[in-house]
Symmetry: C2
Amino acid sequence: MMTLEETGRRAREAEPVIRVLSTEEKNRVLHKAADNLRKYSEKILSANALDMENGRAKGMSEGLLDRLYLTQDRVESMAQGLEALEKLEDPVGEVTGMKKRPNGLLIGQKRVPLGVVGIIYEARPNVTADAFGLCFKTGNVVILKGGSDAIHSNQAIVEALQTSLEEEGLPKSALTLIGDTSRETTQAFMKMNRYVDVLIPRGGAGLIRTVVENSTIPVIETGTGNCHIYVDESADLQMATDIILNAKTQRVGVCNACESLVIHEKVKDRLLPGLARALKEKHVEIRADEQALPLMEGAVPATEEDWGKEYLDYILSVKTVSDISEAIAHINRYNTKHSEAIITENYANAQRFLEEIDAAAVYVNASTRFTDGYEFGYGAEIGISTQKLHARGPMGLLALTTTKYIIYGNGQIRN
Amino acid sequence: MMTLEETGRRAREAEPVIRVLSTEEKNRVLHKAADNLRKYSEKILSANALDMENGRAKGMSEGLLDRLYLTQDRVESMAQGLEALEKLEDPVGEVTGMKKRPNGLLIGQKRVPLGVVGIIYEARPNVTADAFGLCFKTGNVVILKGGSDAIHSNQAIVEALQTSLEEEGLPKSALTLIGDTSRETTQAFMKMNRYVDVLIPRGGAGLIRTVVENSTIPVIETGTGNCHIYVDESADLQMATDIILNAKTQRVGVCNACESLVIHEKVKDRLLPGLARALKEKHVEIRADEQALPLMEGAVPATEEDWGKEYLDYILSVKTVSDISEAIAHINRYNTKHSEAIITENYANAQRFLEEIDAAAVYVNASTRFTDGYEFGYGAEIGISTQKLHARGPMGLLALTTTKYIIYGNGQIRN
């Protein structure tokens, strides 16, 4: 097994080679990578069977086992994911804003890969192929640190992907999986500024917090979403009901699902009783404040703790407010800066909500579930950034690039 | 004195107020701030006299004392700096890329302030007014942590600036100077993710490293520059000489000054003897490799350590290479990703250097000294980013903003 230092050094050595590949060359590798996933699928599935066996033996939950489980179909969909990347536009190489300065210097910004990208993720083996594809399409070298539960699956997938690099005469260190999944190695990886340009954690809130707190490498923080829907005084209540049901129940374990309803007191009597029945049909538990509680059958009282909670479950908190100012203040206080929506027919309130809410995505009259790279038209997604630097909201290929200034002179010196 | 926790909480409370100010309102505050610096100048100068006295007593170097020293003229130029910001375009509020998705959602990106910006800097009191002005013009709240050597000057300047906030009916916590300059407080400040969105260190390499290593808040890394000039086989040697002299000696203590000359072996005989004489006139010490040494009068042998060194002094290292590939590999290995230049008359080599060098700014036939927000036409500069996330190279007002997605719907739910 390679040492971490060696992994870093080799990735850095591969970086100037990968950075300057043409789009055609990169697409050829992605195409081969898809083929190789199919070709190696038996090997991948038997490695996965071993992970599943170990998972069951250590008593992993059914939910986690399902996320770990690979089938022929799931391998096929990983392969198709790589093929889909071939068709996406390569952002690398574009030069923007080239301008002539008074002294004759021509200055512009050229889009370039980030360099070496580190990805730390949990027990979903499909992330392995996906993260490689997105990083490679944008000319980046990638070092993956997956969870120990998926180690055999990840190794088999990485082997298939590396084969395609080698078949195209490229260094296989353009993709490395860190074999040692110990805590110490993960900690050391997060401090390898010398070799790694950017670190992206993909997983639950605990993983993300660990990376943010320990990494000295710049991090793109993805994910947790305590998303609210505010139903304004003037809302179309049928629309409100439809959107709340969709945002809460279409898929519950995701970061853009709605966790809290904020309701204007003037419409609570008309909206809440019917909404409570509809939510009950979907088996959603309601945690309501004092004013909403009597209007929602089966609801239990909310506590202060509920306002700040990302349930990722069939639970919805309900907070009553007396006007839009209170709604905005409540949301800005408790949200995780992910996705927030207002349901309103009032023009000024719609504009004010868009202006004053501090979040990656702010909606008028639509479900928060749309915060997603595919829904936003990027054709891919490396995650949803909830920080403010570099990228905010769904991140497509562009988020895996940076720029450098290029300057054409003819002998200029500074006075 | 406010506790750090209270400073953070108050800054966060001021943030929604400052974030939504109009450009006119912000300009009015900047105008008043300039006036108040002038009005309070006596107070500022006597506070500065106290810092100078303390500095002399503890044996501060002349260089540092000069950076600390304020005069009526220097206060005036701080005031003029704030007035100049009034005239710059406010990037906040622009919406770009608004597009209609197939389902009818209108999705665009709106430019917004970062939120609460923390700035950690050393003993230059002019940074106090400058950082406030840049952050405030872009709708940000700012928490400053200056060095203990300038604490009285900084306090007096901040008081003048805060007065202008209060005169306009705004919370003075839109600007706070952390009064406690102890190491423990600084460490705690770097971990206040709850209140601070972004941390920008401004100062020497040591300060920047400390912040990068200890902050859990996203950092914009600024600054150190081990900048190279590569003189290609086909270079105009007079142009090369002029540019090297300018980049090395026009100002030596700055991050975009040239620290190392990389020279093609075929032109070394023609360039180096004359260049050595010209450098000697400017009192530049030369540290040359084996091939260059006999050609440069007064040169001393370079050691391996020299290649990675940012001298910030009248010293230049000289490295001989046999072709452009070796030059690019050498520079990519030892540079700090700041500013790099090639001097060449060869089209292919110019393009290749621009493509393959990994740095914030890559030049053909110009001095590296141009890497600067003013020279690039931004009218202001908060620093020069040498990291790849968010902003790379000279950062103007735009780097102090982020975006949020705004989405106009009419009842869309996700299938």
